[in-house]
Every structure is written in C-alpha cells, then in structure tokens.
Symmetry: C2
Subunit: 394 residues, 2 copies
C-alpha cells in the first residue's frame, strides 16, 4: 500500500496556532492584562429563537415512532430545498429544485466537489486566499496558479486572457480581504470562464453582508454563469450555524461537457460518499427562511454589521487604507508606517492588547496587511476600536 | 476543464429502484393487497429517551450566549471521544484519544478515507459487497479485484496468498450476507495484510449485533491489527442514528509507512475538507454511552435481534440454507428450488406479498440468494414470517 504522497506537498499553516501562541505568551507575562480578540472568524451570538423552536420540534419528531426520520435524501429534504429556492427567487434568481444540494457546510462541498473534476485541471486561486482552496487541490495533485490581489486592484483581481485556467475560485465578499465584486466585474470572470471552458467555484458564504446594490450576492445574477459556475453557500455566517453545520450548493443543469453533467455527477458523488444532513439540523435551517426567522437572523447580522462599520469608521478617521467592512464582516487594512504583518501584530498586542490576524498568513500578497473581524461581541469590538484609535492617532 | 471521466465507469445500480418499482406495480394491480417490506436496511424505532433528553439540552445550549457553540474540533468533542474510548475499553481495547475521529457517518468516512491513499493501490473487495466500496474506488480510478464469498466458504472468504492487494475491505458482521468472522479468521486477514504491506478498512457498523463470544466485534481484538487496520463504526444501527448522522473512525498511531502516518494524514484531510459534526448531534451520541442510554438502546436492539431470530428460526424450520440472523440484522438465504434472485423476489411478492432484496444486486456471487432484514416492526416481521412459512412449507 502506498499513501497519497501529495500530502507531503501541503504547507503546514501555523497562522492561527502562532497567533494563539503569541497572544497567550503576552497574557501570561502581563498579569492583569485584558487581551481583546478581533481575530476569529467564528460567530458569537446564539441561534435565533425560531431556529431553536424548530430544532426542539424536530428532536420531538425523532422521539416518536410516527414522526421518526431514518435515512433522508442525499441532496436534502424538499422542505429545505424549497425554502432555499424561495430565497433565491426573492432575489430574482430562478432555480430548479434538483439544482440545490443541501450539505453539512460550504467547506465540505468546496473540497469534495473536486472529486468530479479531472486531476489534470489547472486551478486558479487568488492570493491572498482562504487556505482550503489551495490545500484541497494539492492533496489531489493539481497544478495551482495564482491571481495577484493587491492594493492596486483593490484586492479584486481580474481575469488575464493570456493565462489558461480550468477551475477558478472566487470568494466574494472575500475572506480574508472583505473586497466584493460588482456584477460587471463578475461578468468579466464569467465570460473568461466560458471562453476558456473553465468552471468557476463561487464561494458566497458572506453574501448576507452585502449592502451595496451594485455588488453581486450570487454569481447567478450574471448572464452566462449557469453555463460555467457552481455556487457554495452556508448558514454559518448568515444564521450562526458554525457549530450546527448546514450549507448548500447550487449546480445548474447547463454545466456540462460532452456526456458529463456536473449536476448528475455531484448527485452520484454525494449518494456514494455522503448520507445527508441530520433531519434535526435541516428543520432548524428551514426556520431561517420563515418571516420570523428572517427578522431574527437580520437582527443578529445587524450586530456584526454595526461592528464592521465601527471598525471601518475608525480606519477612515485614522486615514488607514483598507478593503471590506462595508459589505463584509472582514476589515483588511494596510499596516500603518509600512510595518510588516507580524510586526503590526506584535505592535497592536503589546500596545493596545488587541489581537488580529496577520495578512501574510493568507499568501505572499498579504504581507503588510492585517485582518480584523466583526464577529466579536459589541462590547469587545467597541473597546478594541477605541484602543486602536488611541494607539494609532497621530 | 475536464470532468473526472472515471465516473463513466461506475455501474448504475438499479437494485433498490427496481425493487420499489416491482413492489408498487404489484400493489397498484392488486387493490386491497398489503405488501410487507423486509427489504430495507433502515431502522424504524425512535431515538432512545436519554438521547432525546441530551438533544433537547444541547439545543438549549445553542440558544444562550453563555453556552452557545461555534466551530467545534474537526475530530470531535472530547466528551464524545472519551465516551467512545470508554466503550472500547469496556471490551478490552485500549485506544489513545487522538486515534478516535468523530464523523457524520461510517459511509462518509469509508469513502473519504481514500483521499489519503495512492490511486495506484490495488483494492480487494468481497463479492457480494456493499456497493459503496466499489463505486468510491472506481471514482478515483483504482484497480479492483474480488474475493469470492460463496456458500462453500460460508460467505466468509479467506486471504489468497498468491494475490497481492494494497487496500482490503472487510465488513463483519457483513452487509448483505450477515456472515461474521471469528477472531481466528480475522487474524489470518491481519497477518496477510501485514505481509503484503496492505491496509484493512474494517467496517464494524453492525458490531452491536454480535452475540457469539468467538466472533470479533472490533478488528483491534486481533494482534497485529494496529499495524494495518482502520475501523469504521456508526451510531446508525446501534442507536437508530440513520437520520441523525454520527459515526466514528479509529486510526491507530502504528499505521505508518516511511514518513507518512495514516492518523496524521486523516486529521489533515478532515481539517481541510470537513468542519466537524453538529454539537447537538455529538451531545445526543454521547448520551448513548451513559448507563441509562445503554439500557435503552439495548432494548431497541433486542427488538431487531428478536426479529432476526424469528426469521432465522423460520429458515431452520423450512430447511433453507442461510447465513446471518444470529449475529446480524441480515438473513442471507439460498433461494428455494434453485430459483434465481429475481425469480424468488417475484415469487415471494406474488404469493406472500412480502418484499426482500435480490442477492444478485450485490454482485455475481449473490445470484440465487436473497436478503431479508430485521429492521421492520415486530408486527410486520411476525406476519411476514408467517406468510413465508405458509408459502414455502413443503
């Protein structure tokens, strides 16, 4: 037996471990300090009451022979898929029910979708990037090329027609940069993909943070996307499901080549390697789309959006260049005084007792940048912002 | 972009669709008929009260800021892994905590584990077989060879030292045949695997049905297994979790080759392509291992075991050859009068209005055999057995 030696080519990413190490080393050598964390990408508010109610009701269903649920459909229950279809319809996008696949999260699907593509494909990812796009492809031995996201292009790289790619990752609003594409810019990516015969894997996990009407919340707002794109979405950030685990993936029927249909291949993949999302969780997820559920999750989202706006306003006042914050829970800022990412990390930790995430951890173009997140509590965020302002005010 | 063309080599399996079609065609042309189903592999009893209690408590945790759970550990919460460790310890098997990985089910892990092995490995599966072992490997382009399971070897094939294999699938007690290996027989497989440098993927999903003291419930009861085996287990059949989704996989630290460690590679795979099992579900699963939980799930298991014993007793009385039934929820019988699998299916449907599963659907050696399952209700099982006895009594 031989192991898959491609695993030896995956870089160990010590980013979050190193962040945690430095923060705890500071705390233990500074007794009485109160370090505030704006580094995490995890939500902090509890599930909405309507979701809780639906989860309890579903648990009760599982307690009685008459309502007990065994194996569910691989692609998710129709009650949830109909709700997701309605959610798209409310934004002007018509989907067929069989184009919607419920899963245990966007991260699983973004990795597992690669099963249906050849390992000979060339993969294009932006730099800086969510490391999972890179690592999942290295595991399978695919060649990876990078699109530079920089301050010059506002961390929104555009297609280079002199470069061929087969599989293209786009995350908008972006993690880590918070930058989001307009419909017009996405249209250029869709046209490029259709010219190259490429597929776009579109990570829409942060779509619910988009406020600006010109920005896309789904790639299917763009003509031609049904021929080249797969969209991944999640309840994690929308409804606080990071520990409850539910997402969905949209694969249009038009995404085909020869006799191969991406939609049918994904159903085959899921029915062979997956047994569906817990009934209880799907009932909870469906409650997100009720009138009351929507009202409640938007109240939670407003908290995170206010946090993001507060951080962004501070950057404006401090005259610090940044992307994100307005249509994203992430603020990606240029480190002041040309500090390096880790240099600024230490400066902020030692002088303001605030922890963020060094941009260098997301790729070479992240050097000199820094990520702050809006998922902390309102109190922590407000105090952290006030400390940052005090420290960096010239 | 090219799709993964290996998908074109996966055989469409119409087994359960064809069973459903024939059953519903019969029902619609025979008004007033009452067709009884002993074909399904899904549980029918509701979750145990202790599990329900734990699920409700966990939902409440998610409703309050102080107890809310975001992203959990990729490999599962320690409270559940400690319980699983205790479950193995009670059977005399010592595991380290980091050898236990919680997942959303044995089926997912049995497919996904292949990510850590080279696609050049030769895979050995029994025939007849759970189709997922075959299909997941065809998707990745691996060569598959078969070990014949037949009436002559009691549907328990033994290793052939003249054949080399890299990855070996063993399911015991077996689906579909219900046959289970003794420790001595498993030892031969372990020795063969260690000689060949192969890995055994051991599917223990039905271990809780083993009564006979000579039969293994875990491959780690066998010396040498820690050097060559991975064990997959599930709450699906043990505790009725088919729609609640939780399982676990044990990868010993000794399973290594060169610088590659299966345990470390799987953790890397899971942390890159998976975000853990819902907190709520893990709390429910942990309740299975409490004293009260164990008592309750064993009451449920006794129902299925009584059903299996009832079917097996009928076969004894009818002088029909079969495997399973005593240490398994499956009864795998030789079709009477040398009928073919589908011939017997139609005979039983038309003359006793009972539905089972034709063995031919599980592989060439399944022809002439038939699977009945013990997961129906006690009433349905008793009536179906009485009809079968009446029909087949000479």
């Amino acid at each position: 037996m031989n192991f898959n030696l491609n695993f030896n080519n995956i870089a160990e990413n010590y980013l979050f471990a190193e962040v945690a190490n430095r923060a705890s080393a500071y705390a233990s050598s500074h007794v009485g300090s109160r370090v505030l964390k704006l580094g995490i990408g995890d939500v902090t508010l509890p599930l909405a009451p309507e979701v809780i109610k639906a989860l309890h009701a579903a648990v009760d269903d599982m307690s009685k022979k008459e309502t007990f649920q065994g194996y569910g459909p691989y692609e998710g229950y129709d009650f949830l898929r109909e709700s997701i279809r309605g959610y798209y319809k409310s934004r002007g996008i018509e989907l067929a029910l069989n184009e919607i696949f419920v899963s245990d999260g966007a991260k699983s699907d973004l990795g597992n979708i690669l099963d249906i593509f050849s390992t000979n494909n060339v993969v294009l990812v932006p730099d800086p990037v969510y490391p999972v796009y890179v690592d999942t492809n290295i595991m399978a031995g695919r060649k990876i090329i990078y699109a530079d996201a920089t301050a010059e292009n506002g961390f929104l790289p555009m297609p280079d027609s002199s470069v061929h790619a087969d599989v293209i990752y786009i995350c908008s609003p972006n993690n880590p940069t918070g930058a989001a594409y307009t419909r017009e810019a996405l249209k250029e990516w869709v046209d490029y993909a259709n010219r190259e015969g490429a597929v776009i894997l579109y990570d829409a996990a942060y779509e619910c943070f988009v406020r600006d009407e010109n920005l896309a919340r789904s790639i299917f707002e763009v003509d031609g996307a049904r021929e080249c794109a797969i969209e991944f979405c999640s309840f994690s950030k929308t409804a606080g499901f990071t520990g409850t685990r539910c997402g969905y993936t949209v694969i249009p029927e038009q995404l085909k080549k020869g006799s191969c249909s991406a939609n049918k291949m994904w159903l085959r993949r899921q029915s062979t390697k997956f047994n569906g999302v817990p009934y209880i969780v799907q009932r909870g997820a469906a409650a997100v789309f009720t009138e009351k559920g929507q009202k409640e999750i938007h109240e939670n989202l407003e908290v995170y959006k206010r946090n993001a706006a507060l951080i962004a306003k501070a950057m404006d006042e401090l005259n610090i260049w940044y992307t994100g914050g307005k249509n994203s829970p992430y603020i990606w800022l240029k480190c002041p005084d040309n500090m390096g990412s880790w240099e600024f990390f230490d400066y902020l930790l030692n002088n303001a007792e605030v922890v963020g995430t060094p941009g260098a951890g997301f790729g070479k173009n992240g050097e000199g940048f820094f990520r702050l997140t809006a998922f902390g509590s309102e109190e922590v965020t407000a105090e952290a912002v006030s400390r940052i302002k005090k420290l960096l005010k010239k």
